[in-house]
Amino acid sequence: IEEPLIFEMGQTGRCGVDLPEPPKVKERLNGLRRKGTIGLPGLAEPQVVQHYTRLSQKNYAIDMGVYPLGSCTMKHNPRINEKVARLPGIGDLHPLQPVSTVQGALELIDSLAHWLKTLTGMPAVAMSPAAGAHGEMCGMMAIAAALEAKGERAKRKTVLAPESAHGTNPATAAALGFVVKPIPANDRGRVDLAALKAALGPDVAAIMLTNPNTCGLFESDIVEISKAVHEAGAYFYCDGANFNAIVGRVRPGDLGIDCMHINLHKTFSTPHGGGGPGAGPVVLSAPLAPYAPYPWIVKDGDTWRVAEDGAKVEGAPLGRLKAFHGQMGMFTRALAYIMSHGADGLKQVAEDAVLNANYVMAALKDVMSPAFEGPCMHEALFDDSFLKDTGVSTLDFAKAMIDEGYHPMTMYFPLVVHGAMLIEPTETVAKEDLDQFIGALRSLTAKAKTGTAAEDFKAAPLYAPRRRLDETLAARKPVLRWKPSNNPPGIDPLKQAAE
């Protein structure tokens, strides 16, 4: 049964809420009352519940099984975090209540800040960025602010980034007016130190590096990189997307990093929610700390205050990135996650994440083709050479996994590897579930290598709510909203007769 859109289900005279009759008052709308209807459909509550329940059943999710989406860290999202985020007195506070009435909320934020600073070994953190990319923006603005304070902003216009970087890195740098200069990787999948040193000069503002990098490898030269960067008068931005691999075991501050955003939904398990909301606090080194954006949560004696725009703080804030104080709901969940693990548990998180990835790598290396030698960190990267001459592409292979009951791994990223497949099991998958997953991949590789199964692979998935979708059509003739006329044939429940 196909699920219609709400716009195809609505009826005038139906409503899913009951609201009292408004008291009669003198209207004060400056004559700007809406004319005509909005066009929203009317559904009763049971229909709404059924519609969204049925829609939900068309999704794959962590709660259903292994979700090995590399670079996304799809690990278990505990329910206690949801519960504490909804406590009265936490989930229902207004951001602009008098500060005296939200001391617990400020303490909560400051507690999380303390954990983040201690775990990263960094002296400061900007809490307000709304997501990882927003955190990147914050960090790069802080670097720009520091350069400006030194009078070097006009001079230093170059940002170095490896070719394997997340797309947000160059996008962020470019938005701030920097010119992105790629640095090549060596054959071990790491930044080429010599090339990097050669690229460093008085025009370089910063390097943006992901570590562990997007190939799932630790940048083993990182201490030397940071030394070289600092000697060249530049700053070292670290993309913290893969912090899960080292949390509790390695402090980025010990590596010479100047700033790093932390995707709370990756490392600290705030729910992914179909693509958001996220939160991207940015830890900052001493040279960058003064430029942290408003608001600052400041402890004065036993009480906390919020230093908002224009307030006096011991620094020179770069400005404001977002209304209010940041993604409080995510802070609450992340702190609950962190307290549940503690220092001992977080170290175990990193170890188990790395162990699981290496186990997958070891168990598949004879039938798939690892992109690089040696142990990986939290994700295992393969290229498509094992599919050579089979007629099966990375895409086909990934789609076939759907019929095995799994979400595909990340495909075609990082771009530096041909037909990349990036598998990140995370630490919350049990060994026996990994074994089952490995078994499924092994039988798929065997099938692909028969050389006669390409058609089957191209037809996959067969057992999903939808088969492969025509993305070209979607982009060529964009239909981005429902209109009465774009009811497809066969979906018109309103007109179905009783007999």
Partner: protein, 448 residues
């Protein structure tokens, strides 16, 4: 460790398959100087769920919950009743624990609700297309300005003084570091300012808010015409999306980009986030939009389905040439918005808006009758400004001491400006009752 399924036996067995002696060996690429021998120091160890919950109850006990007290704060975040169905739905694991729908075959649930969301946003705003949501209203507004700059290839944005001060601050920060000009047209408390006169050939866009930060309702039709005549875009910001149930939509006034804070529908106050930014524009600017877009298509069997589309605008494809560095939306908050708005429907949404206006009117009348209090608004939706005989910050603190959350002193968001020092901004939604308003009025009489 309740979230970690590996047992010590598992770990040993796995290490032997890997051919490593210890987990430490797997971390050998980490420079020795940075490889911690033990866990990070100075932090406590793991705790059980009971202990964690107790800690958060401790935090909560140090706050004053709006649920337990008369409450009249707005200013960009509004307290509304959210039906229990909404919260149930967003907690379903299939929504909560799913990722960005990169694999459309097994994420039609997410994709279809986002398509519904996009449609709802176009209907509310009176625009042609909408994206799958932004972080929130403030960041969406800054993105709108950047988009206008791209379209017009100009670099001067004109900001109304009626725009929420923190939104303005976000634009200014963006302007400063991304290299354009944000000129402020200061509004007075009555909301009057002549933006039309300020639009010139360098202007990329004019950013206005309706109702304004101070609550005034304005018609921007003429301003839109002036913008268009000058080759500039009109960006209309709405911080209280419920107002669109009663007011002429920005699309009808000629807006080119509309940005709303969607928190009021489906999302609680949450101390400021996460919220959900609504972002809509004209068809012709579709490919200049930031953020995720969901489009309709068909699958291999010819069945209707939905996919992420026009990703050639996005950072993961375009990298430094992307329209924005954004790669996240506010998925779950958008779901909450969509479910709540679907429950409301046409009739419920309009009724909700009427009810908000009526409650605010009642509050305004009650306050205007308090000696020394002057209502500054001729027009408003569910929020308005009053002038007090003394600094509003003091009054609000005095009310808080009586456990009444009696509005926002404008000076908190516009500091160091004597002209706003005595202004108090108050909102009343459908959650307001006489049992809340009367204590406020009584307390105000005492503290003034």
């Amino acid at each position: 460790m309740r979230y970690l399924p590996l047992t010590d036996a598992d770990r040993r067995e796995m290490l032997s398959v890997i051919g490593a002696k210890s987990v430490d060996e797997l971390f050998r690429d980490v420079p020795a100087s940075a490889r911690l021998a033990a866990k990070v120091g100075g932090l406590p160890d793991h705790q059980g769920e009971l202990e964690v919950e107790r800690a958060f109850q401790g935090f909560a006990a140090k706050n004053l919950s709006p649920a337990s007290t008369p409450f009249f704060i707005g200013a960009g975040a509004y307290r509304h009743h959210v039906p229990a169905t909404v919260d149930y739905m967003i907690q379903r694991g299939e929504f909560l624990t799913s990722y960005t729908p990169y694999q459309p075959e097994i994420t039609q649930g997410t994709l279809q609700y986002l398509f519904e969301f996009q449609t709802q946003v176009t209907l509310l705003t009176g625009m042609d297309v909408a994206n799958a949501s932004m972080y929130d209203g403030s960041t969406g507004t800054a993105e709108a300005v950047l988009m206008a700059n791209r379209i017009t290839r100009r670099h001067k944005a004109l900001i109304s003084g009626g725009l929420h001060p923190q939104y303005r601050s976000v634009i200014e920060t963006t302007a400063k570091w991304e290299g354009f000009t944000a000129a402020l047209s200061k509004t007075d408390a009555e909301g009057l300012e002549d933006l039309i006169a300020a639009v010139d050939r360098d202007t990329s866009c004019v950013v206005v808010q309706n109702p304004s930060f101070f609550g005034h309702i304005r018609d921007f039709t003429k301003l839109a015409a002036a913008c268009h005549a000058a080759g500039a875009l009109l960006i209309v910001v709405v911080t209280e999306v419920v107002s669109l149930g009663l007011l002429m939509p920005p699309g009808e006034m000629g807006a080119d980009i509309v940005v709303c804070e969607g928190q009021s529908i489906g999302n609680g106050l949450g101390f400021g986030g996460p919220y959900v930014g609504l972002f809509a524009t004209r068809d012709k600017y579709m490919r200049q939009m930031p953020g995720r877009l969901v489009g309709e298509t068909v699958d291999a069997d010819g069945k209707r389905g939905f996919v992420l589309t026009l990703s050639t605008r996005e950072q993961h494809i375009r990298r430094e040439k992307a329209t924005s560095n954004i790669c996240t939306n506010a998925g779950l908050c958008a779901l909450a918005f969509t479910v709540h708005l679907t429950l409301l429907g046409e009739a419920g949404f309009a009724r909700l808006a009427e009810l908000n206006h009526a409650k605010a009117s009642q509050l305004a009348d009650k306050l205007a009758a308090v000696p020394g209090v002057k209502l500054l608004n001729d027009s408003f939706f569910n929020e308005f400004t009053v002038k007090l005989p003394k600094p509003a910050a003091e009054v609000v603190e005095a009310l808080a001491a009586k456990r009444i959350l009696g509005g926002l002193p404008v000076s908190r968001l516009i500091p160091n400006d004597p002209s706003v020092e005595n202004l108090l901004l108050l909102a009343a939604t459908e959650t307001a009752t006489d049992a809340g308003m009367d204590p406020l009025v009584a307390a105000l009489k005492e503290v003034l």
